[in-house]
């Protein structure tokens, strides 16, 4: 089987040199494979059953104009097992994403997804600190307060909701495609038929001939590889470390906020969940992320470091970071030293909090509330079983569509998680694609027509996605520059932005779609 994939891969790459002879060899290849298996015509074939692929399938099912079509989704994993594992977890899963209000609106009112709202947390704004400045003054840290509403939701929550929605619809009597979910099935080969339809050979032996092939299979998408478009992108040489936090005191009231500080290694985000739970995304370099994800044995160490990163100034925080990494560099870790250091860090944070409150307020009542209002809640410990890391990259394909083929979500763009826009961009893609497909059905246009349908989707999404990707990339790089001059400029910039209400409103409108 592996050799078959390899063979298909080499032939695909050669054929893109568009030499006629090689094109012929591709045709002959495709006919030899298809003669052994039967070809089934189909309207839409979706490859990939991640959150984007499943949401797309749910959108198709709930659209009055499109649900008469003949569609299928191919997924290599067993979703049932995946969801069972999630149900057995009994705590928050570590893969948590933010969903903007307009996208959540779409998921709940347009599709009617049975999301578990007990595990979705709404927060009303996000505060961004400049943590790259090394000044030692205990003053109000440079910050931007954005009133961006957002919802924190586990990826598995979305997957589960989609899965049960699709299963329920499939079981109902009027379902047009009762078996539209093909699980534990892989795409072995994609080729082209003589009349220009894609031929997709699956591991269950069936070859599908869809009018439209949609790739939602992420960064390593097989459809993307077949389309062979050029792209821009780079690895950030850093990793995102995720983990679930336990707060010292449960957050009170409904006014929850997200917090993010831009350190020179990358931003650290501290995002609220229900009660005394929170989640973090920390982008850091290889050594640091490996240390957090693999070497660390004590969750309180990481918790104290997060507190230091938000409250202390840069020099103090970096001093503690280095000291901890040094302690853990030996084979046998001296627990006593570690505990001592944690204690020292905690006292330092407390002291700094006190001075910050005193300097920035003029009466005792404000002084008591100052830290609660302007700084993230203190983290008590980090659940080390949930700590994991993933490589960060920025990637954008130059084109999402070809005749009878289209890409959505992570297959055509990847972004740094600092703006929390990864899945949101995918959901926006889905909305636009569904809109164009519905329009095509209304006007009697072939849904696989690139020029009249798919290209419209690409043209409407590409600029939006570019702005988002480039903006995120710019922010990441700006704060990664370790130059005192740049730090001063970013400080001034952040104070300026924070004083401009209209600009802030516009920014949060761009991100969340709501004022």
């Amino acid at each position: 089987m592996l050799s078959l994939i390899k063979r298909a891969g080499t032939i695909n790459t050669i054929s893109h040199n568009s030499s006629k002879k090689l094109l012929c060899s591709l045709y002959s290849y495709s006919t030899t494979t298809t003669s052994t298996s039967k070809i089934e015509p189909l309207d839409i074939l979706i490859v990939g059953g991640g959150p984007a692929g499943l949401s797309l399938l749910s959108s198709l099912i709930s659209s009055d104009k499109l649900n008469n079509l003949n569609y299928k989704l191919v997924e290599s994993n067993n979703l049932e097992n995946q969801i069972q594992k999630y149900d057995d977890l009994g705590r928050y899963d570590n893969r948590i994403i933010s969903i903007t209000p307009k996208n959540l609106d779409y998921l709940t009112t347009k599709i009617n997804l049975p999301l578990n709202f007990d595990k979705i947390t709404k927060f009303n704004g996000i505060t961004i600190f400049n943590g790259s400045d090394s000044s030692t003054m205990s003053e109000h840290k440079p910050r931007v307060d954005l009133d961006t509403e957002s919802y924190m939701c586990e990826i598995q929550n979305l997957v589960k909701a989609n899965y049960s929605f699709i299963k329920e619809k499939n079981a109902s009597a009027e379902s047009k495609n009762p078996n539209c979910l093909l699980q534990e099935t892989k795409v072995l080969n994609i080729s082209k038929s003589q009349d220009n339809y894609p031929l997709v050979t699956l591991s269950n032996g069936v070859t599908y001939k869809p009018k439209l092939l949609i790739g939602c299979d992420g960064f390593n998408s097989s459809v993307k590889k077949y389309m062979n478009y050029s792209s821009i992108g780079w690895n950030y040489d850093s990793f995102g470390v995720v983990g679930n936090l336990k707060l010292k005191y449960p957050s009170l009231g409904s006014n929850l906020r997200g917090w993010q500080t831009f350190l020179t290694t990358g931003p650290l985000a501290h995002l609220p969940l229900e009660g005394d739970r929170a989640t973090m995304v920390w982008s850091c370099d290889n050594a640091m992320s490996e240390f957090f994800a693999k070497k660390l044995t004590n969750g309180e160490v990481l918790a104290s470091l997060i507190n230091c990163a938000f409250v202390l100034n840069r020099l103090d925080y970096e001093y503690y970071l280095k000291k901890i990494m040094k302690l853990y560099s030996t084979d046998i870790v001296n627990e006593e030293d570690v505990n001592k250091l944690v204690e020292e860090m905690n006292t330092r944070v407390e002291q700094e909090s006190e001075t910050l409150s005193k300097v920035n307020t003029d009466n005792s009542q404000d002084e008591m509330l100052y830290m609660d209002e302007y700084y993230p809640p203190i983290v008590e410990s980090v659940d080390l079983t949930t700590v994991g890391r993933f490589p960060l990259k920025m990637f954008h394909l130059d084109n999402y569509s070809k005749d009878r083929m289209v890409l959505i979500g992570d297959a055509c763009h990847n972004t740094h998680p600092l703006a929390g826009q990864g899945l949101n961009m995918g959901l926006e893609d889905i909305k636009e694609l569904i809109k164009q497909l519905e329009k095509a059905m209304d006007l009697g246009i072939d849904i696989g027509n690139n020029e009249l349908v798919l290209k419209k989707y690409f043209e409407n999404r590409y600029p939006e996605n570019s702005v988002m990707l480039m903006g995120t990339d710019f922010l990441f790089k700006l704060f990664a520059i370790d130059e005192p001059v740049v730090h001063k400029i970013t400080n001034i910039g952040m104070n300026f932005v924070n004083s401009m209400d209209t600009l802030k409103k516009w920014m949060s409108f761009r991100v969340s779609g709501k004022n």
């Binding site: 009055d64 609106d105 009249l452």
Partner: protein, 327 residues
Amino acid sequence: MHKTQIKRLINLRSVHVNPNIGFNPNIATTTNAVANNNTSFSTLEQSHFAKLAPTWWDPSGNQRILHLMNSKRIEFIRATLTKKLSESANKNKTEDTIYIPKFNKDLLPNSVRLQVDTMQQTYLDELLTENVKNWKVLDMGCGGGLLTESLSRLSMFENVKGYDITEECIQVAKAHAENDMQLKENLADGTLSYEIKDLFNDPDQTTKFNMICCFEMLEHVDEPFKVLDCLKDKLETDGVLVLSTINKELVSYLTTILAAEHVLNLVPKGTHDFNKYINCEDIENWGFKNKMELIDAKGVMFNPIKDEWELHDKKDVGNYFISFRKL
């Protein structure tokens, strides 16, 4: 001209990018020889469209603008049919004569407004599909079958026919439909069919249609009103006639001939002849004299910034769509 030859030409076109590769000068000469003087379509025009035939189905080539217009044609047809049907539906129902105060949808919460919108849309869509499912539809002057295919793909009508006088066009249309999975089935079960037909010398006077579309054809014939009379005879009572052509005025000349053909090269040179343009008024007068009730008339113009055609209310300027109901 052989079918296989045409097919080969089309296959050639899909490989090469040069738009003229499919053009075979012999095609034009044979058509000239066959054509006689008494047809609805002039010899010169026939040879022009025979030349165009192979390039018809290249949505990125020089027929791109026509492909874009096609969506607006269907949009207009849908709007016309919905307008006609909802008017007649409202006439017959007693409950609809009761006055219901209008309300502003914008005042409703977002989710409720969305629901009201979708309910309204599904009501209209159902009304449309319920009423037209037994309809026989004719696309007169179908060319490569652009509109015919779209009408057939809507799967709303009982059957869709495409008539054209140019043999090459019909062959291209058939060959293109054969290459589409859905349309191939439609061709096989007869819900989609193409015929070479000369309107003026048609022995078949019994076949009637519920809707006849005649898009961008009247400006290419010598006797447009004779064509309209023939089309009217082919229409059932209460049937719908949808037409489109170009007004005979300055803006039309500037846009369709000077800009489109000579400056921007959007359309092949020699496609339009200013003397054959017909004013919207004249068509309306023809309808009035021939007991055809006007349903809707809309101007249509190309917006190069949006890269899209747009419908507007100035029906006396540039291109226009117009629809009638036979009384």
